[in-house]
Amino acid sequence: MRDFNVSDVIEPVKKLCIEANTILPEDVKKKLLDAKEKETSPVGKEVLAQIEENMEISATEKLPLCQDTGFAVLFVEAGQDVHFVGGDITDAINEGVRQGYTDGYLRKSIVDDPVVERKNTKDNTPAVIHWSIVPGDKVKITVAPKGGGSENMSTVKMMKPADGLNGIKDFVVEWVRNAGGNPCPPVVVGVGVGGTFEKVAFLAKKALLRDIGDRNPNPVFADAEKEVLERINKTGVGPMGLGGKTTALEVYFETHPCHIASMPVAINVNCHAARHQSVIL
């Protein structure tokens, strides 16, 4: 057993919140630059050039890439040999988020009650935390700030097993086409297939953490990822929905065994500000 003082997550979580919001992962950056070269629409090229310039400014001036610095979504993999001591680990994570969003001049976008009062919590807490227990005695924390614009363009559909893989592919392509410019294309599309109603949404979200070009280990789904990506880029939606060849940067499928009666499918859309940063403690 390794004793792990919960206060030791505060500083790393704070840093991750700030870094994730100002620096895009290298693979996403590279993919965006490639896309700019290949884009044939002048308006699309201009949009991608602005995105490139923005990445440079935010990295040098430490300003957030996007003013919507998102919901703080965290994935925490805790080793089963870790023993958290010194307080409540969830409180400690939220303290890190609070400090990151306050000291980092990030926008506070969370309201306490989702319907009636909608009063801002003023420090971007509480975070959404997805826990998993893994072998070992380390703690891996990933912060993936999620913007409202692209999150609003996400969905879950309880499809019929008879709809098959073709049904899923069509559903995803048409969904992204209809989202148009709203989720800030070029987008990254996380597709969850299988499991239950809540599991499939989690899979779609988790898919967004993958690296560009990292394919599903099952060749059937790897091919589906490539095909759907190609088809989305043929919709013409283009950068910011203004027309062009770059509508998505990547499509990732994550699957899970499922019930004989069901075939749940979830689509979680991420914008070109596909932000996430991790640390292992």
């Binding site: 923005n54 400014i57 300003l63 957030p64 890439l65 996007c66 001049y105 614009g149 148009g180 062009g244």
Partner: protein
């Protein structure tokens, strides 16, 4: 996009008429920020016949909720938010003199109809280029509803704010025609 039209806000109908779908624009002058919560309040004021916090004649509204300004900055990051959330309110504001809107994503038919009827332009700014856009904002001042925080109404002085005419007052719609042109499947 090589040629960009330079315009100054607020602006009159002559400017509205000249702007065409797909034009690259550098906007200077004074614009106002408002998101859903502020729009709701503006519409309530109009319906109650009360005075608005700024002159709507020729005004440009930018749909944005900026991040906090770090020391030494006029404003934090300030990119556009998704415009469709303002669709229920925009036609009334257009009817009352608003000439321009800056945001991201497509608008509904009611907004497009009002734009054609009264003459107004919808500019698309690039979502997620908030640090870049912040550079063109020289001054920012909260003029109404400070309690709304990021959603308060701000008066912005801008210089060469980069945007693209997405919908003009003549029915041109880049969100429809752009994708149609590049569509292969």
């Amino acid at each position: 996009m090589s040629e960009r039209k330079k315009i100054t806000a607020p602006f009159a109908d002559e400017v509205v008429k000249e702007l065409k779908m797909g034009d690259g624009v550098l906007m200077s002058g004074v614009i106002y920020t408002a998101r859903d919560a502020a729009h709701k309040k503006l519409v309530e004021l109009i319906n109650e016949g009360k005075e608005l916090p700024f002159d709507m004649q020729g005004a440009v509204i930018y749909y944005v909720g900026p991040s906090p300004a770090p020391p030494g900055y006029a404003i934090g990051s300030a990119g556009p938010t998704t415009s469709y959330r303002m669709d229920p309110y925009a036609p009334l504001l257009i009817e009352h003199g608003m000439k321009g809107m800056i945001g991201k994503g497509q608008r509904n038919q009611a907004v497009l109809d009002a734009m054609q009827k009264y003459g107004a332009v919808y500019f698309a700014a690039t979502g997620g280029t908030a640090a870049l856009i912040a550079r063109s904002i020289k001054k920012a001042e909260v003029i109404a509803y400070p309690e709304l925080g990021a959603e308060a109404i701000r008066r912005l002085e801008v210089e060469d704010f980069p945007c693209i005419v997405a919908n003009d007052a003549h029915g041109g719609n880049l969100f429809a025609e752009g994708p149609e042109k590049y569509k292969e499947a």
